[in-house]
Symmetry: C2
Subunit: 698 residues, 2 copies
């Protein structure tokens, strides 16, 4: 098992252990000693011979054996020296709980670099520094300084915030959520989320993996590994710092950049990672995954003893994109036989306010047998006759371990605590309000669709890679980073991306022959690396229909630019074929520092600018993902042909996206790329890049 020394150590040294009340070094030792840990625990402290009844050692060097794991809780300045000793002793894994490193200013930053060097030199693996520690309830082993210990369960959890760990321990205990592994990753100097995914991938104690993250360190490895892990078990992540205000708070907190929200969203989509929108949602969703089977589909049956909550739940289902299950005829018959006539026999099934546990029992049996029902939400409101505990027992009896997902919504306060305990003991999550049960089901159904969907095969297009290489090295050798329009056109043509016929004219004579060669009507545009918004400086003329008009346009464009941007380098005037009417799209790429090439597509003009109707994916994409990008657009209908218009050539656009994907994957030197606009014609008539921009870097 990867990182075995952390989770299943044969022995643990606690460096900085102490008997002094209120000290972190005491809490860690107490937790280790009281959790049932079967291995040896060695307190290390130069000042004590015995701590809490256990023999203490003055230093790591004196230990009678080489422990698997060292837990370090001493002042920051002393940590590098002690870690060096651990290395010399031959210890392979250490948890550094001490704070005062990268998170604490310049001196701390220097100390952490020192630590890193020690860690690398001795090939040790280090968790932290600046963390709460870790626990494995299956060993069992608790090397945290949390005062509440994690309950046993099937959730593996890691968190970049130690404080949220402590809060989580208290909260989850109240809500019946147990952990297999519980890891505070602190500053992530060495062990990070990628390592943990690797360690948890095949851990059969862990049915679901959850994480709180402010940033991801190794984007490419995360992408590769997460995609593998999610095929085996769900991964749910709550990513903080997604807004400007949040990102600012992240950077003032840990000095790390939060990264681009669009790239994170795309990376989660790519890898099937489920995204939680809040800490509360993270845990509620994980309760579902860790305790119930993943529903086979999206059809939900509601069982209730009151109309109101049934309505609220139906609302929530529709808003979440789930379906109200249509019950089978024989289910309705069974319900009619066993429920009073005033009940509602259709979904939501209402057993009425005076229902005792037996009515729930009958109804649950009928719903469990219904092939049209993928999951059940069982609602109970504590009314005069209600039997919360007995009903909980009925629920457990009818549903537990029968392969269909069941979620309880027993509402209220103390009066349902007993029933909730029965449910939680049997692994049926209870939610106090229906909406959060619905959000849980939605996340689980989303995971099911991810598992069901075909893998996207990335196509390989024949291209002239060498031609592109030549262009890029020429541009770079000239000290430039932006390609000219004609250069960009050559790059696209080499990758089979259709471009408008374009010629660069450096003087009037060339311009006139360019017009003849391309054939009228044409468009003329200024060619200058400094001029990005050509129209605004009078640098574009469209609809030029003969040589006279072209000459006039050439003179006028040059005059305009000389007047408005006298210092711009002018390469000449670009003459381009005039395209027939079409819909306009934007296709682009930005290279994200974490996750690499981020592709984007949107309908041109106001749709992108005003409606922000853009979709993102990480390259490389196959046909499926490129089609998904288009279908995600709110304005996709426009491409399909709204109001009697003919449909656009969507297949051609999807191919352009894939070819751009291949181009930016082949050439990491490309930093930015924009086709704006991509002119898209009617079905089977293709599309053409009318204007393009490529920026490269070394």
């Amino acid at each position: 098992m990867f990182l075995r020394e952390f989770f299943k150590p044969h022995s643990v040294a606690v460096i900085g252990a102490t008997g002094k009340p209120g000290k972190v070094g005491r809490v860690v030792l107490e937790n280790l000693l009281s959790c049932g840990y079967p291995g040896d625990v060695y307190p290390v402290n130069p000042n004590d011979r015995e701590i809490l009844g256990h023999r203490a050692y003055p230093s790591v060097m004196e230990l009678p054996e080489v422990p698997d794991l060292a837990v370090i809780i001493i002042p920051a300045a002393a940590v590098p020296g002690v870690l060096e000793q651990c290395g010399q002793k031959g210890i392979k894994a250490a948890v550094i709980i001490s704070a005062g490193f990268k998170e604490a200013g310049r001196e701390g930053y220097r100390l952490e670099l020192e630590l890193e060097e020690v860690c690398r030199r001795h090939r040790m693996r280090v968790l932290g520094p600046n963390c709460l520690g870790l626990a494995d309830t299956t060993t069992p082993m608790n090397a945290t300084f949390a005062r509440t210990s994690p309950m046993t369960g099937r959730l593996a959890f890691f968190s970049q915030s130690g404080a949220l760990c402590t809060a989580a321990l208290g909260w989850t205990r109240e809500h019946g959520l147990g952990f297999s592994k519980f890891v505070s990753i602190g500053n992530k100097m060495d062990v990070d989320e990628v390592d943990l995914l690797k360690a948890l991938e095949d851990d059969w104690h862990s049915r679901v993996i959850a994480g709180y993250l402010e940033g991801i360190k190794r984007g490419d490895e995360f992408l590769r590994l997460a995609a593998e892990v999610t095929r085996k078990k769900p991964v749910v992540i709550f990513k903080a710092g997604t807004t400007q205000a949040g990102a600012k708070a992240v950077s003032s907190h840990t000095g790390t950049l939060a990264g681009s929200e669009n790239a994170y969203a795309a990376s989660f989509k790519r890898t099937g990672v489920i995204r939680a929108e809040s800490m509360e949602e993270l845990f509620h969703v994980c309760r579902g995954f860790s305790q119930q089977p993943v529903p086979a589909g999206d059809r939900v049956a509601i069982l209730t003893n009151a109309g109101g909550p049934g309505i609220i739940t139906a609302d929530a289902l529709e808003k979440a994109g789930l379906k109200m299950a249509g019950l089978e005829g024989k289910t309705v018959e069974r319900l009619k036989e066993c429920l009073p006539p005033a009940s509602n026999f259709y979904n939501p099934v209402d057993v009425l306010g005076d229902a005792l546990a037996d009515r729930y029992h009958h109804a649950l049996e009928a719903l469990m047998a219904d092939g049209q029902v993928d999951s059940i939400i069982c609602i109970l409101t504590p009314q005069a006759m209600t039997q919360p505990e007995e009903t909980a027992r009925a629920l457990v009896e009818c549903c537990s371990g029968k392969g269909k997902s069941v979620f309880a919504v027993f509402m209220g306060g103390a009066e349902i605590d007993g029933a909730e305990a029965i449910l939680h003991a049997a692994g049926i999550p209870n939610y106090r309000f229906p909406e959060i049960a619905v959000r849980t089901i939605r996340a689980m159904v989303e995971y099911r669709s991810y598992l069901n969907r075909e893998r996207d095969e990335v196509a390989f297009f024949e291209t002239d890679r060498q031609a592109v290489e030549k262009i890029f090295s020429r541009v770079l050798s000239e000290g430039r980073y932006q390609l000219g329009e004609v250069e960009a056109r050559e790059v696209f043509l080499s990758y089979g991306i259709p471009v408008a016929r374009t010629l660069l004219a450096t003087n009037l004579t060339e311009c006139i022959s360019a017009g003849r060669e391309i054939g009228y009507p044409v468009v003329a545009k200024i060619a200058s690396p400094q001029i990005l918004h050509k129209t605004e400086v009078g640098g574009v003329k469209v609809g030029i229909s003969n040589t006279d008009e072209l000459i006039e346009a050439y003179e006028e464009i040059n005059a305009n630019v000389r007047r408005l941007m006298p210092n711009a380098t002018v390469w000449g005037v670009v003459v381009q074929e005039m395209l027939k009417p079409s819909r306009e799209l934007i296709v682009g790429m930005n290279r994200d520092p974490q996750f690499g090439p981020l592709l984007m597509v949107g309908l041109g003009g106001i749709y992108v600018e005003v409606l922000k109707d853009i979709s993102f994916r990480l390259a490389p994409v196959g046909k499926m993902e490129s089609m998904e990008m288009l279908k995600e657009l709110k304005t996709y209908w426009l491409l399909r042909g709204a109001r009697g218009e003919k449909p656009a050539d969507i297949a051609a656009v999807a191919e352009v996206i894939q070819r751009v994907s291949q181009l930016v994957t082949d050439f990491p030197v490309i930093n930015e790329l924009d086709i704006n606009p991509l002119r898209v014609f009617e079905r089977d008539a293709g599309c053409v890049a009318a204007d393009a921009r490529i920026i490269i870097g070394e």
Copy 2:
């Protein structure tokens, strides 16, 4: 006080009281006797002489006085007779807890009609039937059959679902939310939400009014009253049945129609009612309103002992449209003086993980004195050194009753229960997760903006009302409901709404002279009450530039229609001026059965059809609301002139909306009205209704 007999009765008769354990009649009596109710309680039951130590009476008629209130808990079939007796005795108010009426099928429906008749005849006010009862903690009086009694507080709550009432009592007790009044309104046969708003409007015990509703009975009165009440205190409503699935569940539950979601949304907007998206949000938001002052503005300061939750809160604030407060220089100075150097002195202020209560105390004093801070979120995670209780006391000491809104987010489980109790006792709401604190602040800030905003003055336009009356009576007298295009045009002109010049030609000669009169180019369209989609039957020709073309168009349109819709009544051909290029809007009205005329506006074509970018308001609207309608559109930027286009004549559109508003308010006979398209020209060039449809009813 309105409905005084319900909330502050001098004496109460409990009809159906019993000593038998487990019976609703016993629970009600016990609640009344044990809640400290100062008035007289008279058990009524023909079978007992004494119940729970109190003298019982065989019938209402034998009671020694006329009680203020009767609470009825007897089988449904016997209720009308007993209510009749109550009426004869002179009782003015009754709570009917018994179920088995409108909610229970045909026989129940008949019984409820009978009840209604008795109620009306004796001019009694009746709450219910089919409800949990009501409680007033200030009397105190508890005439419910809930096993958990409401805590004292400042929230007045009413609910259309009795089951949710019982769930709410348990939940709110655990979260420190107390009630002034607690009312289960059941079937709303007589007393409804409008009555309750009236009763609670000036009740100084109630600082906030909250309701769970599946429908509103008297839309117009609700609109009038709610707008008044919200000026005095916040009203928060959770409306269920807003989706198709939910509405279906409502109608199968109570047999009432859920009504149009757009009309509800518009009615809440109009009246300043705050809308909760879930029961949980309803209560959390009400905890804020009932315990904290409404923030003066949207600037929020975060105080925390951990980075992670600070980031999460900053994210949530930005997503909610609230602002991270920028702290004053002197606040930062004060923080630097009293906090350790590794702290963060800017928002979010981080007092670090080892903070004791004193750091919170210092920081809170500084933030309370900061004029740039409207409200404070104080976060605590339970770490090794943390002092939850002492910190809670510091929070109470620094912030309670000082006029600035403060919200606690002490996170975790049992370890913060003690601190939470201290906070709740002092009226500082604690939230276990930051997102819900942020949602609460957002709702309160939204209420503040509502209070701050100017009232919208509805303009009065001079119109020719008589002309419209004449047209409508002529149409109705002909047995028609849809106006012809020329009739609709006259209606609009009478109300000062510009319309395209239009003439109806019933034969070719008239057509030719219409073309001459209007002046070329013109448009020709078929005029027929049966043909709604004129283009699809070849019934429209545009760009007709001379008489020859007009003759051809006339023949062709008639031929097309005869061929494709041979049975349609054809009034003739409408000749209309050809308008210059413009942006197209849709302005319309539908009469909602609850709330009356619902105005809508959207950008024409695909924006409405595909993007569903439409905004709604209830008529009458003034200039402010009509401008708000336009600004709410996602595509509003298009009207302001995106990408170098000149701005459209927005003022003219706003005036058309107001004139339509006056028209549909003056004429309740108008059921539907559509201007589609409204052609809008550049600024100061006005707009013109190019096609219009009016449907009236008797």
